[in-house]
């Protein structure tokens, strides 16, 4: 039985349709990311699971029970808000105790024990008596996380919990989230617009585009085999090139707009007019070699690597390359890609 079962969820605000029929099962203990650009309806979907927003049609089941019409307090969930939403008039430990108190979980002593334990988990034991406004952003965020996991909810809902932190803290928190999830095994729905975050944290990624599920799957599957142009663009910002596939019987070859050819994997079934998705880091540049010609237009130094903008077959292609060989703007280069790294998208 799935921990969360969403069935054909539609949501409109007035005349504006935001979600167009979302169907999704989340298995117990699974860490699912809702990934998508800002405004695509991630928060709305999460709030519908929480009960903070009603559905226009469709149903929500949590742990086998239909909760579609139930208010948030009658659902066994916990939610962590982007703004943390800590109660300013309560101390850190009172904030963390709050869900236990309101849901009447355990005696006072048991609550004390759990609050203490969870605060140690997020390394805030020493700040238990502070008020939220006396804490830094990173500390507040840990309090919010502690408060969300303390009641051991059936479903943990996280709405871009890391987006307000600076890069360093964010990496630390990602590691912490993974460890906490491994330890507690909470069913988690995690909203983010950051593909790296989704790739590194999730068991499964649900890619949303304008209120529809574009693609879902394990991080490596969705990264290596994006099904649509949107998916390949969003995950790894691939280059999209129109091409014609030839090679009936023999090895398929993609013919670019200017007639240059790229070899494809032998088992590539598609023929005819297609688009190719070429990931920036999969493209290799060389001064001479076996592959289509291109011209370097710009080089952006990124430390360990450089990003090149090259023109290939009249199109702009971005390439991420290590700095062991450096190419200058204006230089002619050849471009190679392992055939199995080329994604072919139907037109």
């Amino acid at each position: 039985m799935p921990a969360v079962k969403l069935d054909a969820i539609r949501k409109s605000f007035g005349k504006v349709a935001v979600l167009h029929g979302i169907t999704l099962d989340v298995e117990p203990g699974e860490f699912v990311s809702l990934l998508g650009a800002s405004g695509c309806g991630k928060t709305t979907l999460l709030r519908i699971v929480a009960g903070l927003e009603s559905t226009t049609s469709g149903s929500v089941h949590i742990d086998g029970h239909d909760v579609t019409g139930l208010p948030p307090e009658d659902r066994d969930i916990a939610m962590m808000f982007q703004s943390y939403a800590l109660l300013p008039h309560l101390s850190v430990s009172e904030n963390v105790r709050f869900p236990l108190r309101m849901r009447r979980i355990g005696s006072r002593e048991e609550q004390d024990e759990r609050v203490k334990k969870v605060l140690e988990t997020v390394q805030l034991g020493h700040l238990a008596e502070r008020r939220p406004r006396q804490l830094s952003g990173g500390q507040q965020q840990r309090v919010a996380l502690a408060r969300a996991i303390v009641s051991n909810p059936k479903v943990l809902l996280l709405d871009e919990p890391l987006s307000n932190l600076d890069a360093r803290l964010r990496e630390d928190m990602q590691v912490e989230l993974i460890e906490i999830h491994k330890r507690l095994g909470l069913t988690t729905i995690f909203v983010t617009h950051d593909q790296e975050e989704a790739l590194s944290l999730s068991d499964r990624i649900v890619l949303l585009n304008n209120g529809r599920i574009e693609q879902e799957g394990a991080p490596d599957a969705i990264y290596d085999r994006p099904a649509t142009e949107f998916a390949s663009n969003f995950l790894g910002s691939a280059n999209i090139l129109p091409a014609l596939i030839e090679g009936l019987g023999g090895t398929p070859v993609a013919v670019l707009a200017d007639g240059q050819r790229l070899p494809l994997a032998t088992d590539e079934p598609a023929r005819g007019d297609v688009r190719l998705a070429l990931r920036q880091e999969d493209i290799h540049l060389a001064i001479a070699g076996d592959g289509p010609d291109a011209e370097v237009r710009t080089r952006v130094y990124l430390g360990a690597r450089s990003r090149y903008v090259v023109s290939l077959a009249g199109q702009t292609v971005r390439v991420l390359a290590p700095n062991d060989t450096v190419f200058e703007p204006g230089q002619r280069v050849t471009l190679t890609i392992a055939p199995e790294r080329i994604r072919v998208l139907a037109r």
Binding site: A50, L52, E73, L87, F98, M102
Partner: protein, 273 residues
């Protein structure tokens, strides 16, 4: 000219006005309250505090003010919450409705209540028709009438004080509380009420001091038998022409109000500094 002297010159008119219009009368009142035929005396205070009749007036004033303040807070808190959470258009209408009574004169408003509450008025008649009260029931000349009239006058102060605080409470705190197991009413009690407390305290002080010193509404609705302190001061001045005794009563009222205000100013001063 240095900045300092320039500043001093600029605030001088204001200081003068304050001195003339505020401190001078208070000083005069203090002086008058201890004036006797043979120099300063506390006889007027002793007379007030030793007479059960006047102590009764003082007690009634305090008691009615507390009841009025409590009723204002009980109505004002949910009203302010609703005003804070409805859409902007409806909020504007509610604010207009709440402050509309402030735009008419106290006397006019009070005469309105007299019409509504008198023996043949709408309210007692309705209660009679419903069989809830006896035949010659009237609300006029009762403490209930004073309370009803004063609550209407003071509710805007209370509601607007609380509204100012509640609009600054992040609605997401309420949503967070709901996801942590609070029903709507529990959210009001555990989140909104404690966070709105500064507004409730400020509104209550305003309501209490205004109601303790109010004169027109209690006199007109309560009549001469149900006297409050302000009315007693008035009759000392106009009927017995005992100005020092009137001043002593005014000082007692003044000191009482100050005693209520000082702890509040201490508390708010601390939270700002």
């Amino acid at each position: 000219m240095s900045d300092r002297t320039e500043n001093l010159l600029l605030i001088l008119p204001g200081l003068l006005l304050l001195a003339l219009a505020f401190f001078l009368p208070i000083f005069q009142m203090l002086a008058l309250s201890v004036a006797g035929p043979d120099g300063p005396t506390l006889a007027h205070f002793a007379r007030f505090l030793g007479d059960p009749y006047y102590l009764g007036i003082l007690w009634r004033t305090v008691r009615l003010s507390l009841i009025i303040t409590a009723i204002c807070a009980i109505i004002g808190f949910p009203l302010a919450y609703i005003m804070a959470r409805v859409g902007p258009r409806l909020r504007l209408w509610l604010i207009v409705i709440v402050i509309l009574p402030l735009m008419t004169s106290v006397v006019v408003r009070t005469f309105g209540w007299m019409v509504l509450l008198s023996r043949s008025g709408l309210v007692p008649e309705l209660l009679r028709d419903l069989g809830l009260v006896r035949r010659n029931f009237s609300l006029m000349q009762t403490e209930t009438a004073i309370i009803i009239g004063m609550v209407q006058v003071l509710l805007p102060f209370m509601a607007l004080s609380i509204l100012g605080v509640i609009t600054r409470i992040d609605p997401r705190l309420e949503e967070a509380a709901r996801t942590m197991g609070c029903s709507f009413l529990q959210t009001l009690r555990t989140v909104i009420l404690p966070l709105a407390l500064p507004g409730i305290v400020a509104g209550s002080l305003l309501a209490f001091t205004l109601s303790a010193s109010s004169f027109v509404t209690p006199s007109l609705l309560g009549g001469s038998r149900i006297e409050v302190l302000a009315a007693s001061i008035y009759s000392s001045v106009t009927q017995t022409l005992d100005w020092p005794f009137a001043a002593a009563q005014a000082v007692i009222l003044f000191v009482g109000v100050i005693l209520v205000l000082i702890p509040y100013m201490k508390v708010t001063g601390r939270s700002h500094g």
